[in-house]
C-alpha cells in the first residue's frame, strides 16, 4: 500500500494493510494499485529523462537511475542539473527526491533516505561518511535482512562498518555484503539502461519551446552538422540515426533513419532526416532535441581521384545515398539485388539480398532457357493433354484459353530431398517436368507438371513463368 502526504499525516504508513488503515481513517479513499500502468508511466518518464543523459534505467519500480557521467557540464554543474531535473518533475506533479553520488547504491540510498528535500550530492570520497548516518534499509536489502540487522541493534549503515564481514555473511548471506560494497564503491555495479547508449549523441535545448516546421528543420540541420563533425573526428559514419524531440508535456517524439552505408556526410544525413521530419509531432512545443548515432561504422574514405581496385566499392559508395533515400521512403525491404543460388528449384535459384551487400564476385551460371518473368507462386492451370506424359495442347490461365502451337521439353527438376519438409513441402518435394510452350499469338510460357505421371491420377499443371 502506498499513501499520499495527507494520509501520511493521519498516521497511515506505506506497506500497512488496508484494514488497519481504514481503522485509523474510516473515510479513507482506497484505490487499486495499477502496477502495469505505473511501470508504463515510469518507462515513459525514463524515456523523457534521456534528455539529461542517454543512460537511463527505471529502478525499483518507483525510481529512475541516470548515469550522468560527462553530462553535468551541459547544465553547468551537478547542482544545477539535479535542481533542473527535480524542478521539471515537480512541475509535472511528481513528488520526487533526488541525489547524485558516485555509486548507484549511494545515490539510491541518498535519494530515498536523505532528509534534504532538494536533493543531496555526495561528493566522491565522502560516500562512506554520508551513508553512515542512513538507516540500513537504504542498502537495497530485503525486509527480512533489515529486520534482522535492527534486532541486532545495527540500525545505521555506519554500524556495519566495524562488523566482521565473515560474521555478517554467515548470518545474512552475501547479498548484504554485496549491497554494502556496491554502495561504497568497493564492488562494481553497472546500470542496465532502458535503451542501449548511442555511440555519439548531440543535443540542443531551447529557451523558448519551438514547434514551427522551419525551426525544427533548422535545429535538425544544426544537430546533423554537429553530429557529423563528431563522427568525422572519430572517423566513423552513422548507419542508424535517432532524432528525439522532448516536448513540454513530457512526451518524446522520435524518428529513426537508417543508411545503407556508414555516412558522416551532413548533407546526405540531413536530407534523410528532412524527408521524415513531419513525423515529429511538436505537441505543445519542444524544449530539447537530441540526435544520436545509434549505430556507427568505420568509414573508409575513398580519396577522390584515386582509382579503387574494387569497382564494387566505388559504385556502392556512389549509390549509398540513393539507396538510403529509396529505403527511407519505401522501406529497406523493398530494395534488393539478385544473387544466384545453387538450386534446381527455379524459385530458389535466385535470392534477393540487400542492394549494396558485396556479392559482385559471384558468377551467374549458364542455365537452360529461363523466363524473364517468374511468378513468385506457380499458378495452377487447366490443361488438355492428349497423352498424360506430353505437353498440353491447350491450357487455361487466368481465365484465358491458350492454344499451344509449339512446345519444348521436358526439363526435369528433381525435388531437393535434402531440404527439410516445410509448409510448402508437397510443392517442393515433387518432381517437376517443365515445358516451354508457345501459344498461337506468340506468348511463350513456362509450365510444369507436378509429380511423376501415375496411371489413373489426373496430373496437376502449373504455369511458372513467361518468356520474353
Amino acid at each position: 500500500m502506498a499513501a499520499d502526504p495527507r494520509a501520511l499525516a493521519c498516521g497511515i504508513a506505506p506497506g500497512q494493510g488496508v484494514a488497519d488503515a481504514q481503522a485509523l481513517m474510516p473515510d479513507l479513499l482506497v484505490l487499486q494499485a495499477d502496477r502495469g500502468g505505473d511501470l508504463a508511466a515510469l518507462h515513459k518518464l525514463a524515456e523523457w529523462a534521456t534528455r539529461f543523459s542517454p543512460l537511463v534505467a527505471p529502478d525499483s519500480g518507483d525510481g529512475l537511475m541516470l548515469d550522468i557521467t560527462g553530462c553535468a557540464h551541459l547544465w553547468k554543474g551537478e547542482e544545477k542539473l539535479l535542481a533542473d531535473v527535480l524542478r521539471r518533475l515537480r512541475s509535472h506533479g511528481f513528488d520526487v527526491a533526488g541525489a547524485i553520488a558516485g555509486t548507484i547504491g549511494a545515490a539510491w540510498a541518498a535519494a530515498r533516505f536523505s532528509q534534504c528535500k532538494d536533493g543531496s550530492i555526495i561528493p566522491a570520497g565522502a560516500v562512506s561518511g554520508a551513508l553512515a548516518a542512513l538507516p540500513v534499509q537504504a542498502l537495497r536489502i530485503d525486509a527480512a535482512t533489515a529486520d534482522g540487522l535492527q534486532r541486532l541493534g545495527l540500525r545505521k549503515i555506519g554500524d556495519l562498518y566495524p562488523m566482521k564481514r565473515a560474521g555478517l555473511a554467515q548470518r545474512f548471506g552475501t547479498a548484504l555484503l554485496t549491497r554494502l560494497d556496491q554502495a561504497l564503491g568497493c564492488a562494481a555495479e553497472t546500470l542496465s539502461p532502458l535503451l542501449p547508449p548511442p555511440e555519439h549523441r548531440v543535443g540542443l535545448g531551447f529557451g523558448e519551446p519551438i514547434s514551427a516546421p522551419e525551426s525544427l528543420r533548422r535545429v535538425s540541420e544544426i544537430l546533423v552538422e554537429r553530429l557529423a563533425r563528431e563522427l568525422a573526428a572519430h572517423q566513423r559514419g552513422a548507419r542508424a540515426l535517432k532524432l528525439c524531440a522532448y516536448r513540454l508535456d513530457n512526451a518524446v517524439s522520435t524518428l529513426t533513419i537508417g543508411t545503407a552505408r556508414a555516412s558522416a556526410e551532413p548533407r546526405h544525413l540531413f536530407h534523410l532526416i528532412a524527408e521524415k521530419l513531419e513525423r515529429i509531432d511538436p505537441g505543445p512545443g519542444i524544449e530539447f532535441m537530441s540526435l544520436a548515432a545509434e549505430r556507427t561504422e568505420v568509414v573508409t574514405a575513398l580519396q577522390p581521384g584515386m582509382i579503387d581496385p574494387d569497382e564494387a566499392a566505388v559504385s556502392a559508395a556512389d549509390l549509398a545515398p540513393l539507396m538510403d533515400r529509396l529505403a527511407n521512403r519505401l522501406g529497406a525491404e523493398r530494395l534488393a539485388r539478385p544473387v544466384p543460388v545453387e538450386s534446381h528449384v527455379p524459385e530458389r535459384a535466385v535470392k534477393l539480398v540487400e542492394p549494396l551487400s558485396d556479392h559482385k564476385k559471384i558468377q551467374w551460371p549458364k542455365l537452360p532457357p529461363r523466363p524473364t518473368r517468374l511468378l513468385p507462386n506457380p499458378e495452377p492451370i487447366e490443361v488438355m493433354a492428349p497423352v498424360p506424359d506430353d505437353p498440353p495442347i491447350t491450357f487455361r490461365w487466368r481465365r484465358i484459353l491458350h492454344r499451344v502451337t509449339w512446345a519444348e521439353g521436358p526439363e526435369r527438376v528433381a525435388p531437393e530431398w535434402w531440404r527439410p519438409a516445410s509448409a510448402d513441402a508437397n510443392e517442393s518435394l515433387e518432381t517437376r517436368d517443365y515445358y516451354r510452350i508457345q501459344d498461337e499469338s506468340g506468348g511463350r510460357y513456362w509450365v510444369y507438371r507436378a509429380g511423376l505421371y501415375q496411371g489413373g491420377k489426373q496430373p496437376r499443371w502449373f504455369l511458372h513463368g513467361v518468356f520474353a
Binding site: L335, V339, L352, K360, W364, T372, R373, G443, A468
Partner: protein
C-alpha cells in the same frame, strides 16, 4: 635572377587549349551549347558528349537518328496482347538495351510488386538477355506514384547506367519530369508500360508522352531464343518503323529485318556523322572551323 621571370611569361605549348584563350571548362560549356542546339533541332543526340547506345543490330541502330538510342533521355517500351500485363517480352527487349548501358553504371529496375517477395522479374532470364544481374538493383514499387518517384530519384544518381520503371499510367507531365531528370543527369531512362487491365492499355498507349522513343514489342511464334516484332511507334527526329528481331539460342548475333524500306535514309545519314565530326572539332579546332559548321548543326 631572370629565370623565374622567364618561366612566368613562357607561353604554354600550342596544343594546350589555354593557348587559344580558352579556359579548360569552356570545352564542356561548348559541348553543352552544341547539345542544346542539337536538341533545338531535334537532331536526336541529347548530350554532345554521350554516344548513342547501339543494340548490335545494324538495321535497327542505323535507322535511329544519331545511329543509336540517345542516352540521357526517356524511352518507352510496351508489350502487346497479354504481354501488356505480363511485361515479359517488353522486359526482354528493355534488357537488351540496359545490358548495353550497364557499362556506364549499374541499372536500377523498379518492378511493380507489393514487396521484395512479390518481385516477378527473373534474374536468370534477364541474364540470358545479356543483362548482368550483378549490376542490377531491384526496387519494388506498389503504385505508379512510388515507381515514378523512385525513377526520378534514380535519375538524379549520375553513377547509374540506366533506370527502368514499370509504370501503368503515365501522362505528359510525369513523363516530361522524367525526361528532364534524364537530361540533366545524363542517365538513360526507360518506362516499361505494364497495365493491370489490358482494356485500359489501348486507351493509355495512345496518349502522348514526352519520350524520345516509344517501342512496342510483340512476341512472335518462333523456335529461336528471341522472336519479336519490334515497332518503333514514335521517334523524335526520326521515323517510325517495324523490325522482325531474332536471335538463335546460344548466339550473340541479333538480327533485325526492317519491315519498311527506309525512304529517309539520306536524312538520317546526314545527321549521323554530325556529332562525330563535331567531337574532334571541339577538341582542338579553330573557331573558324566551328563557325563554318554552325549552320550545319542547325539544319540537322
Amino acid at each position: 635572377m631572370p629565370e623565374p621571370e622567364a618561366l612566368a611569361v613562357k607561353p604554354n605549348p600550342p596544343a594546350d587549349p589555354r593557348a587559344a584563350g580558352i579556359k579548360p571548362f569552356s570545352l564542356n560549356t561548348l559541348r553543352d551549347q552544341v547539345a542544346r542546339l542539337e536538341r533545338a533541332g531535334s537532331a536526336g543526340s541529347r548530350h554532345g558528349k554521350l554516344r548513342p547506345v547501339t543494340l548490335g543490330a545494324p538495321a535497327l541502330d542505323q535507322h535511329l537518328p544519331g545511329g543509336g538510342l540517345p542516352r540521357a533521355a526517356l524511352h518507352e517500351v510496351a508489350g502487346a496482347g497479354a504481354d501488356r500485363e505480363q511485361g515479359a517480352a517488353a522486359a526482354g527487349f528493355a534488357a537488351l538495351w540496359l545490358a548495353k548501358l550497364q557499362a556506364a553504371g549499374p541499372v536500377l529496375w523498379i518492378v511493380r510488386a507489393a514487396g521484395r517477395a512479390a518481385i516477378d522479374l527473373h534474374a536468370h532470364g534477364l541474364n540470358q538477355h545479356r543483362l548482368d544481374p550483378r549490376r542490377l538493383i531491384l526496387v519494388a514499387a506498389r503504385r505508379d506514384d512510388e515507381a515514378l518517384w523512385a525513377m526520378e530519384e534514380g535519375l538524379k544518381a549520375k553513377s547509374l547506367g540506366a533506370v527502368l520503371g514499370e509504370v501503368e499510367k503515365l501522362d505528359l507531365t510525369a513523363s516530361r519530369r522524367l525526361q528532364l531528370a534524364a537530361e540533366s543527369s545524363g542517365v538513360t531512362a526507360f518506362v516499361l508500360r505494364r497495365w493491370r487491365v489490358t482494356e485500359r492499355a489501348d486507351r493509355d498507349a495512345a496518349q502522348p508522352i514526352a519520350a524520345v522513343t516509344r517501342w512496342k514489342v510483340t512476341a512472335l511464334p518462333t523456335a529461336h531464343e528471341i522472336g519479336w516484332r519490334v515497332e518503333l511507334t514514335r521517334c523524335r527526329g526520326g521515323r517510325p518503323n517495324t523490325w522482325i528481331m531474332e536471335r538463335a539460342h546460344g548466339s550473340d548475333e541479333l538480327h533485325a529485318e526492317p519491315q519498311h524500306p527506309e525512304p529517309q535514309q539520306a536524312e538520317s545519314q546526314r545527321v549521323t556523322p554530325l556529332s562525330g565530326d563535331l567531337a574532334p572539332l571541339l577538341g582542338g579546332g579553330s573557331p573558324a572551323a566551328g563557325a563554318s559548321h554552325g549552320p550545319a548543326v542547325r539544319t540537322g
